[in-house]
Amino acid sequence: MREMTYLEAIRTALWEEMERDSNVFVLGEDIARLGGAFGVTAGFRDRFGDDRVVDTPIAETAIVGAAVGAAALGKRPVAEMQFIDFISCGFDQVVNVAATFRYRSGGQVSMPIVVRGPSGGYVGGSLYHSQQFEAWFYHVPGLKIALPATAEDAYGLMKAAVRDNNPVLFYEHKFLYRRIKGNIPSPETDFIVPLGEASIPRKGDDLTIVTYGAMVHFALDAAKALEQENISVEVIDLRTIKPLDMKTVLESVRKTNRVMVLHEAPKTGGVGGDIAARIAEEAFMDLDAPIARVAARDSFVPFAEPLEKYVLPSVDEIIETARRLHKF
């Protein structure tokens, strides 16, 4: 076991995968000479050299596209978006080139790429350094999406993502990078966290909160507070939203009969609507209350602190919604 931050866990997972498999390489802006804006690839260039640690021009379309082309020829590239927000500049390559490649190739070609980068708010990053528009990609067949909440999961999911034969979007949460730590299994255990398996960081009986990413911590904080009020909350951390572990969600809902879906992205058109609709379809008779959604308000993430706080979900909002659900 090794104690590391969320960021170190990602760095270590990538490092170990590059050690293990010479087909794995990383590319992106400032990832070699600088080691990445946040230092995720610090030291990589010295160890793995310029061919496997590639500083690219400022060109997200070329970065994702180059990852695709290399993957088509058998490589396993990991592309960094300096901030995940900039994926909008490489959008076509993600949704129309990477996601569809295997399909268009009649099954001949695998597309083992990872597109990773810091996402999310709560750090004053403003409109273009706070985004979590994972819902765009949730809608696109052919993609997988991981959003780890803990250092262990960040490590294990990254390893699974690198080894997966499909394009994986890997949303790291910059608020968590240095704020949380975890105990990472030693490399010999070859620990991974499979894509598509939710975890249940807290068991409970009265209501279920289904969430992912940084919101897992908010949910746990809320659950702790609600314990005082004798409301027993089960928290499900989806870990990946695509594939989506509906089995774990439905089992929990069948037990608690009350559910809240929680995410950091704006509510309208967010992944929460789809998950809520699925729960309603598959467990309609098990629901004792309408499914609640807690999410960001339908706005952008603004700069000034009072504004950012107003837009993004808060622990208080989760607690209030849980109370309302519980009373229903």
């Binding site: 498999d21 970065i63 180059a66 052919g142």
Partner: protein, 353 residues
């Protein structure tokens, strides 16, 4: 710091020093090239004809008539371990890079036997084992992908392999083209950017996509040689492509080759009427007179090494080849409906743990 790059064709010393690769072509080579030019022509004519007769079921035909010298001249230097990414106007290039003609045709008819198994249409196909990289509809988007393929070759130490992409002159206006070309220039990748400058992007004249009217001017900013070649002269195209291959193999990086030609037909089969309205008919006629097929034939006859009989118009075996491929494609099975849900994901385990 910045080596001022000139267009190679304009550099006199260079032109003198450059070996003329065409002189090394054997008679068999030349006959094969002649045959291929006809294959491209008949591919085009056959599909236009079948579309008109309503036998194509769905999809448009983007013709390459008049651009055959580019398709043949750029693919002839290719070896099995090189990679190519054809786009909409390059359908015959799939065959020239090794894809059986009946497979190309099966793709046109959306058959289960097509490389995409009926999933996608027209040129959005490939076969990595043959060195054919799949494109999408989005113009310019193959260039970044080609960069990645070149990078993979580099990682594997396959310094002898080269990646070649096609783009229309219009596609060079896209951001994707720029990001890819610039990436290739920065990293000196073994990439050849063949630009089929056929004067129009759909209805849009050259100057509305390329401010100077010369695509090769873009190469300067990418730090690569920008060659302009007569795109209706198959041996000139061959020569320049060969030079670019040699350059790439030497590790000297990418080359942009602007092949100047003309789209004598409409943008696609549905555009025949309008294509004679949005541009001067005289212009079309002028270029029809520059047809690369008779031109190549006359050249070959002029060398004195070929008899008329050796250069039939068209070569009957090519007619048969096309005919057979169409028959096979038409008689191939349609994909099973439920296969629409296959190959969205690779369900295999990925790499072992």
């Amino acid at each position: 710091m910045s080596a001022k790059l000139k267009n190679r064709a304009e550099t006199e010393e260079d032109q003198q020093a450059a070996p003329s690769y065409r002189d090394q072509l054997t008679k068999d080579d030349l006959l094969e090239m002649y045959r291929r030019m006809w294959l491209a022509r008949l591919f085009d004519e056959t599909l236009y004809d079948l579309k008109k007769k309503g036998r194509l079921r769905r999809g448009n035909v983007y013709g390459s008539r008049g651009q055959e010298a580019i398709l043949v001249g750029t693919t002839y230097p290719l070896r099995a371990h090189d990679f190519v990414s054809p786009i909409h106007r390059d359908m015959p290039a799939f065959h020239f890079k090794g894809m059986p003609l009946e497979q190309v045709m099966a793709q046109v008819w959306g058959k289960a036997t097509a490389p995409t198994r009926g999933k996608d249409s027209w040129s959005h196909m490939g076969d990595i084992s043959l060195g054919l990289i799949h494109s999408t509809s989005m113009l310019g988007s193959t260039v970044p992908v080609a960069c990645g393929a070149a990078w993979a070759l580099k990682l594997d130490g396959k310094g002898d392999s080269v990646v070649l992409t096609y783009n229309g002159e219009g596609a060079t206006a896209t951001g994707a083209f720029h990001e890819g070309a610039n990436f290739a220039g920065v990293h000196k990748l073994p990439l050849i950017l063949v630009i089929e400058n056929n004067q129009y992007a759909y209805s849009t004249p050259l100057e509305l996509n390329v401010p100077t009217g010369r695509v090769a001017d873009r190469a300067i900013g990418y730090g690569m040689p920008g060659i302009v070649v007569d795109g209706n002269d198959v041996l000139a195209v061959y020569d320049e492509t060969y030079h670019a291959f040699e350059r790439a193999r030497r590790g000297d990086g990418p080359t942009l080759i602007e092949c100047v030609t003309y789209r004598v037909q409409g943008h696609a089969d549905h555009d025949e009427t309008r294509a004679r309205q949005y541009r001067p008919v005289e212009e079309i006629e002028e270029w029809e007179a520059k047809d690369p097929l008779p031109r190549f034939r006359n050249y070959l006859l002029g060398t004195g090494n070929f008899s008329e009989a050796e250069l039939p118009e068209p070569p009957p075996e090519v007619v048969r080849q096309i005919h057979d491929a169409v028959e096979i494609a038409i008689n191939s099975p349609d994909p099973e409906p439920a296969t629409a849900m296959e190959d969205i994901y690779d369900e295999s385990a990925g790499v072992s743990r």
